[in-house]
């Protein structure tokens, strides 16, 4: 709106530059009105400088940054495990592109995540082969046992459920993958067992620390 009006004035009445400048000032004021979010302040977790350095080194070593945004995001997610706003902004500044452009790409691809996951990721395959062999019942059971929906993390930060599309072991359908380990031909009855193995592991680890 502001922009249009200024143009209007310039055309209609020959205002002196001072007056035009005043309008600009007004416009700038509107834009820099205090916002709810302070973009300069880190949100949530703060990462050590080394991680940013690693990412920066990776970007500097690229032959060209033209068209490399997705590659960089892959690397960033590998380093930080997820892509919080600060990391996205860091990349945007480094490449000299708007933060919105980076976020546009991050939000488009399901591989990129903006939330930190739990310690163990339970990926339930929801590919067609697994679906017709009952994966929908398996994922429901996982949700029930852990008390969360998919893409959510349990309160103790141990588990995240993800529904993924075909992990390529269709011969073993339905398939569940916890971190890197694949469980094949999973039945609803197996779900408790799978969760408990990881819970027990945690308890043992905790015991070790206590002792």
């Amino acid at each position: 709106m502001q922009k249009v009006r200024i143009k209007f004035h310039i055309e209609r009445k020959n205002y002196s530059w001072q007056i035009i400048y005043k309008y600009f000032e007004k416009l700038v004021n509107v834009m820099t009105k205090p916002q709810d979010i302070d973009v300069m302040k880190p949100t949530g977790q703060e990462f050590p400088k080394e991680k940013y350095d690693e990412l920066e080194a990776f970007i500097n070593n690229l032959e060209t940054t033209k068209g490399a945004l997705i590659e960089i995001l892959h690397k960033a997610q590998e380093i930080f495990r997820y892509l919080p706003r600060d990391v996205q902004l860091f990349i945007a500044r480094k490449l000299g592109i708007p933060g919105a452009e980076v976020f546009g790409v991050v939000s488009f691809y399901s591989y990129f995540t903006t939330k930190p996951g739990g310690k163990h990721t339970v990926s339930v395959c929801m590919g067609t082969a697994c679906f017709v062999r009952g994966a929908d019942k398996v994922i429901e059971k996982f949700k029930e046992v852990l008390g969360i929906e998919s893409n959510e993390t349990t309160e103790d930060g141990l588990f995240t459920i993800k529904d993924v599309r075909c992990i390529g072991a269709c011969g073993l359908a339905p398939v569940v993958m916890v971190d890197g380990k694949v469980y094949g031909r999973v039945k609803v009855e197996d779900v408790d067992g799978i969760i408990n193995t990881y819970r027990k592991q945690e308890e043992q680890n905790a015991d070790k620390v206590l002792r």
């Binding site: 590659e71 399901s110 067609t128 017709v132 072991a169 694949v182």
Partner: protein
């Protein structure tokens, strides 16, 4: 070492044949044995690498000389994995666990007795079968694109060369003109295996005819159809054939740069592809002045990030450029204006895998297989309610009945066959009546389905088709990129209607509306993804109308179980 002429390649082949002689049954040398263990994603998931480790340990402990272990690509018989084959005895073991390694060594290798318990049992005859050739799963297959999968070690370029690898490239570069190469591909009648079925030779010719100094060739390895794993298995089992074919294609169209666009979810394929690229560069088969000619070519990898629509070629190119993977209007086609505005040829992995054999064995040989309009073979990923889940390659023109019952071994647990979905989320169902149509691109389209990339999901009498349609719609709703209205909003509404139907909240008028909306989306969406998205609905409505009606009219009809939790954003991914 750098190969600088065809003769040098032949020399290298001569030197390398020893590596694979046992597998090809070319003479035996005493007690030497080769143990082939499947190292595909499916078999690795059931611990095939532990099988290898145990075999190595035990062989070392027993001090067996002359026994080598090879980790191959996918054998295709994923249902029975992990698979172990011992050559030159030609014995095929199935479902081999890490604990079975001891018996394999002590019984088979030391004493020469077959381990009966690990042999495949023919379910029809109830007898043990020990060779691959005798198994009904392999009998009707002819392996062209998969010729090296489950035969060679994909991480060893010398094994590929020993089997005649890179000869096609050498011949094309040193003895043939670009037009001659294109001519052979055209004559072979090869059509794109990525789904569209566009004649590959023609695509190459169009790209060649573009006036431009810079051109690109892209391999589409963004296999998005869930439940399909053909391309992944080829890249895992035989990456060099794709690299060689890309170089041949690049020479033909006049490109110097190639890109493989591969899903980040395929870590093993990426790793093997990288190894293969490194080895090819070391031998000078990629890089500057290949085979001593003035042709230079190299390949880089670009990773997808989990978006089905990126399989569509214009979206794929946008994604290669680091942008959101949204499709563009066509024309201009990528062949005219593609990667950064330059003419670009996009082909599928399986399409490429066919090229080297066509070049060495000739277009006529290739054209003997298949039907009049669809030549050659097609790889299908057979999955769902079927006994032999796995990867099969069959000549075009074979009937679905042969694939499902002869090769696939029929439906498990004595259930009745109901339908098969071909073409993934863009295809449709084919029922009992359609089982005897010879399959090729055109006959499947006539039946209201499509070839697609080769996923084939079999359903039995227990599956409710409305639920299946809903499953596919949920997929396309999630994956629709949001660029066009019919795709963004239409698929969402379509899904909601299906959800209401399965929840028992719909009326007959809703069914009519569903039909109308389905056709409307089909006619008005921007790209192939959403134009074909209603296909599962349309085809299930055609064949299983009564199941839709049952949800509406029959009060006691069991309600669909869904995992749908409404999201407040329209068609956007969270």
């Amino acid at each position: 070492m750098q190969i600088k002429s065809l003769d040098e390649l032949y020399e290298l082949r001569q030197e390398s044949t020893g590596k694979i002689a046992l597998r090809l049954h070319m003479g035996t040398s005493g007690n030497a044995k080769t143990i082939m263990v499947c190292g595909g994603t499916g078999c690795l998931a059931s611990d095939s690498d532990k099988v290898i480790k145990n075999l190595e340990l035990i062989i070392k402990a027993r001090k067996l000389e002359g026994t080598s272990i090879v980790r191959t690509g996918c054998f295709g018989f994923c249902e029975q994995g992990p698979i172990v084959k011992i050559e030159p005895d030609n014995v095929f073991y199935v479902r081999v666990g890490p604990k079975d390694a001891k018996d394999l060594v002590d019984e088979h290798l030391m004493k020469g007795n077959r381990v009966e318990r690990l042999l495949y049992e023919d379910p029809q005859k109830n007898e043990k079968v020990h060779t691959q050739e005798e198994m009904s799963f392999y009998k009707k297959q002819s392996r062209v694109a998969l010729r090296n999968c489950g035969l060679i070690n994909p991480e060893d370029i010398y094994e590929y060369i020993a089997l005649g690898g890179y000869e096609a490239l050498g011949k094309a570069l040193t003895q043939m003109s670009r037009d001659q190469v294109i001519d052979i591909v055209k004559k072979s009648g090869l059509r794109g295996r990525g789904g569209g079925g566009f004649p590959t030779g023609l695509k190459w010719e169009i790209t060649k005819s573009q006036q431009s100094n810079v051109k690109f060739i892209i391999c589409n390895a963004d296999e998005g159809d869930p439940g399909a794993f053909m391309d992944r298995s080829i890249l895992e089992g035989d990456p060099h054939s794709v690299i060689e074919a890309m170089a041949i294609g690049a020479y033909a169209i006049g490109a110097n740069k190639g890109i493989v666009y591969i899903r980040a979810e395929y870590p093993l394929a990426i790793e093997r592809l990288n190894t293969a690229l490194r080895q090819a560069r070391e031998l000078g088969l990629l890089g500057k002045n290949i085979f001593g000619t003035d042709f230079s070519f190299d390949i880089t990898l670009k990773y997808g990030a989990g978006a089905f629509v990126c399989g569509e070629e214009t979206a794929l190119i946008n994604s290669c450029e680091g942008k959101r993977g949204e499709p563009n209007y066509k024309p201009p086609y990528p062949a005219e204006e593609g990667y950064w505005g330059h003419p670009t040829c996009v082909n599928n992995v399986e399409t490429f895998a066919n090229i080297p054999v066509i070049m060495t064995k000739g277009a006529e040989w290739f054209a003997t297989m298949g039907t009049e309009k669809s030549k050659g073979t097609k790889v299908f990923a057979l999955a769902g309610k079927i006994n032999n889940v796995g990867l099969v390659e069959v000549p075009m023109g074979i009937t679905l009945r042969e694939i499902i019952f002869d090769i696939g071994g029929g439906i498990p647990n004595g259930k009745k066959f109901k339908a098969v979905q071909t073409g993934g989320p863009s295809g449709g169902v084919i029922t009992e009546q359609g089982l005897d149509t010879p399959i090729d691109y055109d006959s499947l389209l006539e039946r209201g389905s499509m070839m697609g990339s080769g996923g084939m999901i079999v359903m039995d009498e227990d599956d409710n088709m409305v639920n299946i349609a809903k499953f596919y719609l949920e997929f396309t709703m999630d994956e629709a990129c949001g660029r066009c209205g019919p795709g963004r909003i239409g698929t969402k509404r379509l899904f909601e209607m299906l959800h209401n139907i399965t929840a028992g909240k719909a009326t007959m008028a809703d069914l009519d509306a569903l039909k109308q909306l389905a056709y409307m989306i089909k006619d008005s969406a921007l790209c192939g993804l959403c134009q074909t998205a209603p296909n599962p609905v349309i085809s299930t409505m055609k064949h299983f109308w009564h199941e839709y009606v049952a949800f509406v009219k029959d009060v006691d009809h069991p309600r669909g179980e869904g995992r749908y939790t409404p999201k407040n954003k329209i068609g956007m991914k969270s």
